[in-house]
Subunit: 366 residues, 2 copies
Amino acid sequence: MTANPVYNFSPGPAQLPGAVMARVQEEFLDWHGHGVSIVEMSHRSRAFTGIAEQSVRDLSALLDIPDNYKILFLQGGATHMMSMAPLNLCNGSGTADYLVTGNWSKKAAGEAARLTGMNVAATSAATNFTAIPDPAEWRLSEQPSYLYFCDNETIAGVEFQSAPELPDGYEDTVLVSDMTSNFLSRPVPVARYGLIFAGAQKNIAPAGLTIVLVREDLLGRARPDVPFLYDLKLLAEHGSMFNTPPVFNWYMAGLTFAWVREQGGVEQMHRNALLRSGKLYEFIDNNDFYSNPVAATCRSRMNVSFILADSSLDGRFLAEAAHNGLIELKGHRSVGGMRASMYNGMPETGAHTLVDFMADFAARYG
Amino acid sequence: MTANPVYNFSPGPAQLPGAVMARVQEEFLDWHGHGVSIVEMSHRSRAFTGIAEQSVRDLSALLDIPDNYKILFLQGGATHMMSMAPLNLCNGSGTADYLVTGNWSKKAAGEAARLTGMNVAATSAATNFTAIPDPAEWRLSEQPSYLYFCDNETIAGVEFQSAPELPDGYEDTVLVSDMTSNFLSRPVPVARYGLIFAGAQKNIAPAGLTIVLVREDLLGRARPDVPFLYDLKLLAEHGSMFNTPPVFNWYMAGLTFAWVREQGGVEQMHRNALLRSGKLYEFIDNNDFYSNPVAATCRSRMNVSFILADSSLDGRFLAEAAHNGLIELKGHRSVGGMRASMYNGMPETGAHTLVDFMADFAARYG
């Protein structure tokens, strides 16, 4: 280990809870006295199915998931779901509505357009994705198969503050949400959604696993020629074990769920996120050296982007930050500047240390 | 750790090389002094792209892969490839030929039949998949898009001893092979194949990764409405990073490739496999208490199935074996009996210890 703590602000794969990481290392070669690693066990073994069942119970408790939802642990990343949503919910026809508020929802909308009818109900492209369009201006289809949105866009750092409210006449429209980057960071009114999914690599486990919550009555509508591993009904019927699941990622997800419960649940994760991001936004807003372009009404609690008044200092900022154990702060190439990604695994001291460094840097170079 | 070594004969997820496992544990919390785990690093970081590039070089050297092949590291399991093969190589039409020699090729043929024209060129279903049909009896299509087979079927333990020879007139027919369960266990004449794939969880890394070798000129033939993550051309163009790859599995695959090279390459893995399985087959063939139903010409070096003369002793055999650190020997439910799966990670002492136990058990109960 390095002498001082390293705070890893990577947007993903990202810093995971320290206690979970330590536990994984400790039992990596010998899981609970079985003499073999969890990654060497059959997914059909009693040991692993026990882990899987407990993980479902814990996640269900954390998000208070209604009984009529299936909880799936799928191989691969959330990008698979960008295809699976239209393939499973549109039955080869119909129109799906998309709110395009950043790179991820834009990518999803593009994929949907290849696979079914797609309507961009609203987009904030004109403001470089630094806002969420006013619901009064959304142009919904007459009878969309669903309304899709990305709950938190990581590049600019834009987050829905709550589930979108739909106008009169759309009471039955299903919400579909990509919650990859803010899953388990606050309570979610699951019953308002038809489909929620989240890639694991921000708040849950290493990359290669996607958590899916889907309302049961939506299963069985897949296009007939969908590849079998893209049929959510088949996957649900086999308890996410139609084929070998990503056992290590699932196991770590289970440890993370248990850790979140110990910490006080998603309510506590929400408080932590508000403290971390609030500390940073408050500092940025009160310092002329830094600025954040995102509308105050939709700033992300997970990804805080900021730019320096003098971009010629960017390289120096990153180098000095890294020297102080604050790494992976470079902003996405499409927007430049800096970005501090702070998921559930980031301790509050990470935000404090970053703000202290930023204040010191501004005092010396501002 | 338990006092005595545990030999894990699980068919998969399976025992991985001990040296690789120890290395992973050692550097799990702090990869090469970076202060963070490999699972917490961006896949675009210099550290991870270095790992990825080295893994490609090592695999290429191990299998002497020609320059006109792309080497991909994909999310998920080999089952995805059962859909991707027809979707990528048949362009929505055409007929693919399948050799059905066990559960895995049967599953693949069934999926292909949903997605394109499919012809079962030969099947050993009548002998309960204990043989490989004589090539003289294969009924190939006139111009198949490809000929598909599973190089090693894990349930009965049936393995092609070499790449299938096709009759005159089929010189241009592309071979497609599922090598999930014997990948890196012997040299492969890659140039004779159009597409080779292998799920990681037997010989390479934890479940959730599939290695793909594909001849470049076969890319770009995918059905137009294929989900984007099922388009091999797109995946190849992005160096397997169109979206976040399964970083932990890829990293472990790289460690395994380096380990295989240190051990003496796939030639040495082949010698090891012949020693392990040969020891077991020789013992079984010379002992009336045990028997193996597979034709001698196609016995698997990876999965040795055997039955006891008195099946009422099965439970006792499994319990005593486990008590002696020999675990996961139960045969697949569809065939019963026992199965010893011995992939690259199984040391030769595992086979010796198992044979010693089997001899002792037969002496006491035979």
